[in-house]
Amino acid sequence: MADSIPLLWDAFHAPKKGNTSEEYEDAFAGDPAQGRFAVTDGASESAFAGAWAGIVAQAYVRTPGSWSGWLPDARKLWRSQVQGRELPWYAETKFHEGAFAATLGLIFHPDHWRAEAIGDCCLFQIRQERLCHAFPISRSQDFDNRPVLLGSRNREAGQPKLQCYSLQGDWRGGDLFYLMTDALAQWFLTKIEGRGSPWRKLQRLETPEQFAFWLDKVRTANEIRNDDVTLLRIHVKKRTQISPAGK
């Protein structure tokens, strides 16, 4: 429980340029009272991936404890959303292959935070204008590999073993935590490598319209790969900043 941790959060998201909002296949969820947050990225080569990404993000945030506490039910829910529908041959084949999603979760505890990641969604912690942690990827060039992702079906024999990475750290009032899907994370790390402070730009965004305008600009300048984009921002407020009503 993170009732006593003053967390403010919001999120911005956009589909790949040229796609409609119904075709957006990332997802995010947050519960500041529980101190749990998640960002997921449905793999575009799999089908029904947007649904899977949404189920995973919600289940992660709602269910404290280990992944085994929610993953079987999440997989069942995904199957139930597709099963029973009359599907053409290719959709049936894709359904049997399952959907896949990169998954990043962040949990706040009273004296530390813990992040867990499968795939290439990234977490950045910024404290006093400095990047303290980049997780699980810390170099922009490392986004080229094809990560193993969380599947909506049980792993079959012979498939690569799932690798879940985790990291712990401390939090303080004033810290910023940014959770991002891969294209934005790669842009972020490229800017860091060029000695920039990309969090300043992201921090200044206040409305979805400002986010859309900014994203369009960096896409037009070819600074960012054309992909679905999700940014989840968490601000740990300093206790003196909390009003008596806690708002």
Binding site: S44, A47, D227
Partner: protein, 279 residues
């Protein structure tokens, strides 16, 4: 940089297959006496079409990242997809997906994860059936392919360059196809020249020569013609071939000589890899 255009529904690319259907295609591959070359090629094309459809399938819809055409040449030149697509030239991949000639139920044995094997049923759609008869009007087939590619480029001038793959076991009986292939390779989108790849099938049990870099690697003058007709592999494909264990250089051509069935399937996979890099 050429060959980097992104595939999208508004900016698709096209793939055209030219398939030799002359009488010699009824003969078997050297290393596989039970399989006629024509049958092996149709299996390969059907598998490739299936994998392209699956790349573009999202839920129960299909995104038209590709337009595909199959030309058969054996005696005469025809557009060779079957069923509802019979006679159609370039077909968007959604049209391919939704109109197979038939869908066969096949089965395969897979690992059950507990040391045993279980049978898994799967659907195998067929669009293209094998056929073999008559002579080899390869020049005419290239001419027909050039016309549709030209038309496609008019509609999508910024596309990832179209890819034309010619699969044959012999030489043209209607002239020297080098000039036709050159005319095709000279067509461009703003992202680069049209790619022409050739696969030569063999009835002999000789080692295939895959992605050669120099004409001198080929003793046969007919092979040298096919070599000269083939495009140099773009960087992305060269890397893909290297990653798959092929010995390639930056001068390697999209050409395989004396190919057996396995080699044709590997060739088709590498050849269409750049077009398959759909994210």
């Amino acid at each position: 940089m050429p060959y980097t255009a992104e595939l999208s529904r508004t900016n698709p690319t096209c793939l055209v297959f030219l398939i030799d259907q002359s009488s010699s295609m009824a003969e078997p591959f050297g290393a596989q006496p039970e399989k006629a070359k024509a049958e092996g090629v149709s299996d390969g094309i059907n598998r490739l079409l299936q994998s392209l459809v699956l790349k573009c399938a999202k839920g129960d819809g299909i995104r038209d990242y590709f337009h595909v055409g199959v030309i058969g040449y054996g005696g005469r030149v025809t557009w060779a997809l079957g069923g509802k697509l019979a006679g159609q030239k370039l077909v968007p991949i959604s049209g391919i997906a939704n109109n197979p000639l038939k869908v066969e139920q096949r089965s395969r044995k897979i690992d059950d994860g507990a040391g045993g094997l279980i049978e898994q049923k799967f659907k195998f759609p067929i669009w293209f059936e094998s056929s073999a008869g008559g002579r080899t009007p390869m020049c005419q087939a290239f001419k027909e392919g050039t016309e549709v590619v030209k038309d496609f480029l008019g509609r999508f001038p910024g596309c990832f360059p179209p890819l034309v793959i010619n699969i044959s076991d012999g030489k043209a009986t209607d002239g020297n196809p080098e000039l036709q292939a050159l005319a095709l390779r000279n067509l461009t989108s703003s992202d680069g020249n049209v790619l022409v790849f050739n696969a030569h099938l063999s009835a002999k049990e000789t080692r295939p020569i895959e992605f050669p870099s120099q004409e001198t690697e080929l003793a046969d003058p007919d092979a040298a013609i096919l070599f000269r007709m083939s495009s140099i592999l773009p960087t992305k494909l060269c890397e893909a071939a290297k990653n798959d264990g092929f010995r390639v250089t930056d001068k390697s051509r999209g050409f395989v000589y004396n190919a057996d069935l396995v080699s044709v399937i590997r060739f088709l996979d590498i050849g269409t890899r750049a077009a398959q890099m759909v994210r």
